[in-house]
């Protein structure tokens, strides 16, 4: 196992609103190692996204220690490409904000866009692209600032099922090739199993870690779509499903 990229220790988060206070996370600890894909699954509204917001620095936790080695990239559920910018300029927004050398950034982004099949669309506007292409562009926008750790917040749930299976493979492929460490939040158990090395199951609010699964593959190095055919897939699915206790949530 490589070196530790992300370390979260006893993270707690309480939100204050006029109506009262909500304890979203009671205690959350997780270490993520270099090159690892870790998923967080849990019932909806259990504070999964809050963990990503804390990791990216958008939120200050009310307790605990956050340690991240290197830069963090954040990818959202929707692509949020800016309609008024071309694909190329959308992907350059990060370097622009961080006042990096735009010439070098442009060369890098163009290379990524070409490598991942968007070479003909550099100067197109987002509405001219399909959902899957837009999501790929959004990923490249995140990669443009060369992050060390990638946070993905339900990155596929806005896509229709067919597109989704392909896009998961595409994204997985890009992340592998760019040697990314990734933390993925999802409510889709199957997606989590097909995609990740480890799966962290959260309880309902206030969230604590219920269990962490290490996913073993019969044939290592396969794509997420191929992993779905793995004989152990069902077993993991049933275990995690039981753990999540989803029916209890729906009354």
């Amino acid at each position: 196992m490589g070196k530790c990229k992300v370390s979260l220790q006893d993270i707690a988060m309480t939100f204050q609103t006029p109506d009262g206070e909500t304890q979203a996370i009671q205690s959350f600890s997780l270490d993520i190692y270099e090159g690892e894909f870790v998923s967080i699954v849990g019932p909806s509204g259990c504070g999964k996204s809050t963990i990503l917001n804390i990791l990216s620095g958008l939120l200050q936790p009310t307790g605990g220690i956050v340690e991240v080695q290197g830069k963090v990239g954040y990818m959202f559920q929707k692509d949020h490409l800016f309609e008024w910018r071309t694909i190329l300029r959308n992907c350059l927004i990060g370097p622009e904000i961080q006042k990096q050398d735009l010439k070098a950034a442009r060369a890098y982004v163009e290379k990524l866009l070409r490598k991942y099949g968007l070479g003909d669309f550099l100067h197109h506007y987002p509405h001219q692209l399909s959902g899957g292409m837009r999501q790929r562009a959004a990923l490249i926008r995140t990669l443009a600032v060369s992050p060390d750790v990638l946070l993905l917040d339900e990155p596929f749930s806005a896509l229709d099922y067919q597109t989704r299976l392909t896009v998961v493979d595409e994204v997985w492929n890009i992340l592998r090739q760019e040697r990314m460490t990734a933390l993925i939040v999802t409510h889709d158990i199957a997606e989590a199993i097909s995609l990740s090395d480890r799966i962290c199951v959260l309880s309902r609010r206030p969230a604590v870690v219920k269990n962490i699964y290490s996913i073993e593959r019969t044939i290592p190095g396969q794509t997420p779509l191929q992993n779905r055919k793995d004989e152990r897939f069902r077993i993991y699915f049933d275990q995690i499903w039981k753990e999540l206790d989803i029916h209890a949530e729906v009354y």
């Binding site: 958008l58 990239g73 800016f82 622009e96 904000i97």
Partner: protein, 269 residues
């Protein structure tokens, strides 16, 4: 091969139909205009209507030629157009600046809220006499009237637009480390551009209302002045002519804004 020609034939037929439709709409529009003025002219000539109180196209045309030869026409048109442009520009820029301030400070925005509501509800014409006393019997009062009429609406609609920008888009660039200024210039303003332009379109109309109202109250020149003057001396030729010129000017200015819109919002097509 025969299949593709078949399709293109259908396509050609479709395009022909579309074109025929456009031509028939446009020619009907022209016909309505011609019939309206033609009927007006004929009715006045045959004494169906009293041309003294309704005027008639030929007399209006004479009035135009007359005002053209004395140069009066250009004085009045230019006075009104100038007042409108100044009122419109200051109203828009001022409104935009205040909207940005209110977006920047949610505290200020909460404080200003009830005042904006009251100022928006107040008919600005009521301030006319105050403006005359404060600014005198001239152009400044007219321009300020146009400005007041458009600025409050501008503030309210632009702020609304700023606040309705997708929060996730803001979060996205915050994750890249954006500060408030960057959020404003990279997301909030460009995302609100369509909103701003529709505010601009409304403002053009409102500025004309403000200027004409101002000219009704105080003025030595301008189309509004001509309309009031013509009414007072029972010269309906002048009144009607001025109204039509006014309509043309207002339409031209609106077209200019619509043209700017099509240029600025190319990414939407």
């Amino acid at each position: 091969m025969p299949k593709s020609t078949e399709i293109s034939q259908q396509r050609r037929q479709y395009l022909r139909q579309q074109k025929a439709r456009r031509v028939s709409i446009f020619s009907t529009q022209i016909a309505v205009l011609l019939i309206f003025f033609g009927l007006w002219e004929v009715a006045a000539n045959l004494d169906w209507i009293d041309a003294f109180i309704t005027s008639q196209p030929s007399r209006m045309w004479k009035t135009v030629l007359n005002m053209h030869s004395t140069g009066e026409l250009y004085l009045h048109v230019w006075t009104t157009v100038w007042e409108t442009i100044v009122g419109f520009t200051t109203g828009t820029i001022g409104g935009l600046a205040i909207a940005i301030m209110l977006w920047w400070s949610p505290f200020l925005s909460r404080v200003a809220d009830p005042y904006l509501v009251v100022l928006n509800a107040l008919p600005k014409v009521a301030l006319g006499p105050i403006l005359i006393v404060w600014l005198g019997n001239g152009q400044p009062a007219i321009i300020v009237m146009a400005l007041l009429i458009s600025i409050i609406v501008t503030i309210i609609s632009m702020l609304q637009g700023f606040l309705s920008v997708d929060q996730d888009k803001i979060k996205l660039i915050q994750a890249f480390g954006a500060n408030k200024m960057t959020i404003l210039t990279k997301v909030v303003l460009p995302a609100s551009l369509p909103n701003m332009i529709s505010a601009l379109k409304v403002n053009v109309g409102l500025s004309w209302v403000g200027v004409i109202m101002g000219e009704f109250l105080v003025s030595q020149a301008g189309l509004g002045h001509l309309i009031v003057y013509g009414g007072q001396v029972f010269q309906l030729d002048i009144v009607m002519t001025s109204v039509i010129i006014l309509a043309l000017c207002a339409a031209l200015m609106y077209v200019a804004v619509a043209y700017a819109e099509s240029k600025l919002l190319r990414w939407r097509l």
